[in-house]
């Protein structure tokens, strides 16, 4: 047999190196009878080192991810690999928002995105657990219609998870609605059903017992013959069931402004921000406002004249509007003090600031670019400015299950801007600095279970301002002060009361 040439010999050695689970170049080549000659053995060893050579594609994709499109995104693997035969392909209205939502709600990882045509996404892939899901924006011309457009979907997505309660809480915090609460099912699973903001239904489930089909059938018949009253567990209100506990028209968080001259302030909001007065009740025997509700650009704001117990506090809020310049000038004309004329800011927004006649600061903002504002960011976002914002954010996470949406830091490592999701609302803030003075707010927060959240807040360092009580207007309430001096008025809406 003619002696194979050097390149042939080296390739044989390389083949054995690259063979799955090859323990090492030398060990394998010996067994294969392809022991390279002395000059080749050096090359073969080097080839062994090359076994870990990174893919050029991977390096480029990772760089692109880090650089541009998703600077703060969680890790995404560069090479999406479809491991399953059948894959769901979701058509949604707002695919970019949907991807963001699935990341937050289900821990999805974006593995691929093709932008366009226009500002729509032509195709994207995400991975949840070990499954790939494909999605795209709707393209009605091509018959690609979203569930939202069609008015529902006959398909339910089914998520098998290790901890259904935790995943459900996470999904709800991200904005999913609970359709059926999480509970133990007769077929040995613990599951609940949720609607995402894009018209799709998701069952989140966890395996608890392994049952034979016969046993399932028996339990099913038992259940249909003896429908029992809801169990204590069904009734137990958890974080997974926020919807009925929030008064109609409200969100999780509502800024509550305590001022001197509430009536005057309401007039200002009408004139400057086009506010709509929804409700007002005067303090008995006086003209002072005990409680008022106005809607500004779709967001509720509550206002009251300060009392001895609840002193006036000049809080800060962001007001997102389509035209910051116009609203800024209207506000100044209506009697606000200009703090900063509208200008393009480093965070990618156009923003001006005014102080209203009640002493509250409003950052009148038009969002231009950046991930810190999404389509579901409310028009009014309360702002905190505190010393040691990092520690405060930690408190908010623990006490109120806040979740970080976006953060930038100053060169000194302090938080310049952070936005947090609390329930279905957004809270923004940062380290107190320069001309921005600390302005402790009062926030009205709807929660699924006031008792639970109150206890949890106290456990993490909040103090009681007002203990638990059943308020005459149908809410169960408690008010706490957090370590930064901000007040949180917790409430669970229990029943509607007519005034």
């Amino acid at each position: 047999m003619p002696k194979p040439n050097l390149s042939e010999q080296l390739d044989r050695a390389i083949q054995s190196i690259l063979a799955p689970s090859a323990p090492s170049a030398t060990a394998r080549s010996g067994r294969d009878g392809a022991t390279p000659a002395a000059p080749l053995s050096k090359l073969a060893r080097l080839a062994g080192e090359l076994r870990g050579l990174p893919r050029a594609d991977f390096k480029a994709t990772l760089r692109a991810q880090l650089e541009g499109r998703t600077p703060m995104a969680s890790k995404a693997s560069a090479a999406p690999e479809v491991r399953q035969t059948a894959t769901a392909y979701l058509i949604v209205k707002g695919a970019a928002r949907a991807i963001e939502f699935y990341k937050q709600a289900f821990g999805a990882v974006e593995t691929m995105r093709l932008n366009g045509p226009g500002d729509r996404i032509g195709h994207a892939e995400i991975r949840i657990g070990n499954s790939t899901i494909m999605l795209a924006d709707e393209f009605p011309d091509h018959g690609a219609l979203s569930a939202e457009t069609i008015g529902g979907s006959p398909i339910t997505m089914h998520l098998q998870v290790a901890d259904v309660d935790a995943m459900a809480a996470r999904a709800v915090a991200a904005g999913a609605k609970a359709l059926r609460p999480v509970q133990d099912q007769f077929y040995g699973e613990r599951s609940g059903q949720f609607a995402d903001p894009f018209g799709l239904k998701w069952v989140i489930t966890m395996h608890k017992e392994t049952l034979t089909p016969e046993e399932m059938q028996r339990r099913f018949e038992n259940l249909t013959q003896n429908p029992s009253a809801p169990t204590a567990e069904d009734q137990e209100s958890k974080w997974t069931l926020p919807v009925p506990h929030i008064r109609k028209g409200f969100r999780t968080l509502t800024p509550y402004l305590l001022v001197s001259g509430a009536a005057n302030l309401i007039n200002f909001y009408k004139e400057a921000f086009g506010a709509e007065e929804i409700f007002r009740v005067a303090r008995p025997g006086s003209d002072l406002i005990m409680h008022a509700e106005v809607r500004i650009a779709g967001s509720m704001v509550e206002i009251a004249d300060a009392t001895a117990e609840f002193q006036p506090r000049a809080s800060s809020n962001i007001l997102y509007v389509p035209d910051a310049d116009a609203v800024f000038h209207r506000a100044v004309d209506a009697g606000a003090t200009s703090l900063a004329a509208p200008a393009d800011r480093h965070h990618g927004d156009r923003e001006g600031a005014v102080k209203d006649p009640g002493g509250n600061t409003w950052y009148i903002t038009t969002h231009i670019t950046g991930d810190h504002v999404t389509a579901d960011t409310p028009a009014v976002v309360p702002v905190f400015l505190v010393q040691n914002a990092e520690k405060y954010v930690e408190f908010l996470k623990q006490a109120f299950r806040a979740r970080e949406l976006f953060m930038t830091k100053s060169p000194d490592g302090k938080i310049r801007y952070v936005s947090l999701r609390v329930g279905d609302s957004v809270l923004a803030g940062g380290e107190v600095h320069g001309e921005f003075q600390a302005a402790p707010f009062l926030l009205h927060m709807y929660v699924a279970n006031t008792d639970e959240v109150y206890a949890n807040a106290l456990r993490h360092g909040a103090t009681t301002v007002r203990g638990l009580e059943d308020a005459p207007y149908g809410d169960r309430t408690a008010t706490v002060q957090d370590p930064a001096g901000n007040l949180w008025s917790l409430a669970t809406h229990v029943k509607d009361v007519k005034f």
């Binding site: 050097l6 390149s7 042939e8 080296l10 390739d11 390389i14 690259l18 323990p23 090492s24 170049a25 030398t26 060990a27 050096k42 090359l43 060893r45 080097l46 080839a47 062994g48 080192e49 090359l50 076994r51 870990g52 050579l53 990174p54 893919r55 050029a56 991977f58 390096k59 990772l62 760089r63 991810q65 880090l66 650089e67 541009g68 600077p71 703060m72 995104a73 969680s74 890790k75 995404a76 693997s77 560069a78 090479a79 690999e81 070990n130 830091k409 100053s410 060169p411 490592g413």
Partner: protein, 202 residues
């Protein structure tokens, strides 16, 4: 020389701390090093890519917190990588789905070994184009000679020749760079380690 390098890297870090879009320069400097380290400890390619990705995303997100206190930026990245791998091990042992290397190769490689490997990966990028394509397809994309021949429109014999020449060039260049044939040394050390463990298991 080292001081110059240190100062310029320091500048790059400060620039990236102020403007994250300038992180790319740091990424280019350290990518091979991190990948060399991670891929030595995780032989599964997908796992190595996942962890490398995790390391850089984590580094970018935490860059504002990085303080230059004598410990070089590269060492910081290695620490992140080491932690990420440790996390993966913990998860892996629970879920048993992660294909992790469980031979002694996954033990901590020395900084010298990592550097040599990283250097080799960088040298691949400097190969003449045809050699580079073959080496990348063969080792990084794990294609067979036949597949590469199809992609390049060459005969299998020609591809094997290019492969041979590519590796030969790498060996020569590596010897020039290190001056003392460090790559070969590292490779030898590695295979000795493996052979020893093989004997112990036998």
């Amino acid at each position: 020389m080292k001081d110059v390098q240190e100062t310029s890297e320091r500048r790059l870090i400060e620039a990236a701390q102020q403007d994250p879009s300038r992180f790319a320069a740091l990424y280019e400097i350290h990518f091979e090093r991190v990948y060399a380290y991670v891929s030595r400890r995780l032989t599964n390619r997908e796992a190595a890519e996942d962890v490398t990705s995790e390391v850089f995303h984590h580094a970018l997100a935490n860059l504002p917190r990085f303080e230059w206190r004598g410990a070089p930026f590269g060492a910081w990245l290695m620490r992140i990588a080491s932690n990420a791998i440790a996390d993966r091990w913990r998860r892996g042992s629970r879920e048993q789905t992660d294909a992790l290397a469980n031979d002694p190769a996954s033990a901590e490689p020395s900084p010298e070994e990592t550097e040599i490997r990283a250097q080799l990966f960088r040298l691949v990028q400097l190969l003449p184009i045809e050699q580079r394509k073959v080496v990348q397809m063969r080792f990084a994309e794990e294609k067979s000679i036949r597949e590469i021949a199809q992609v390049l429109g060459r005969t299998e014999g020609a591809v094997k020749q290019l492969q041979f020449r590519g590796i030969q060039t790498l060996r020569e260049e590596a010897a020039k760079v290190s001056g003392s044939n460090l790559v070969a040394k590292a490779a030898r050390k590695q295979s000795q380690k493996k052979n020893r463990s093989g004997a112990a298991n036998a």
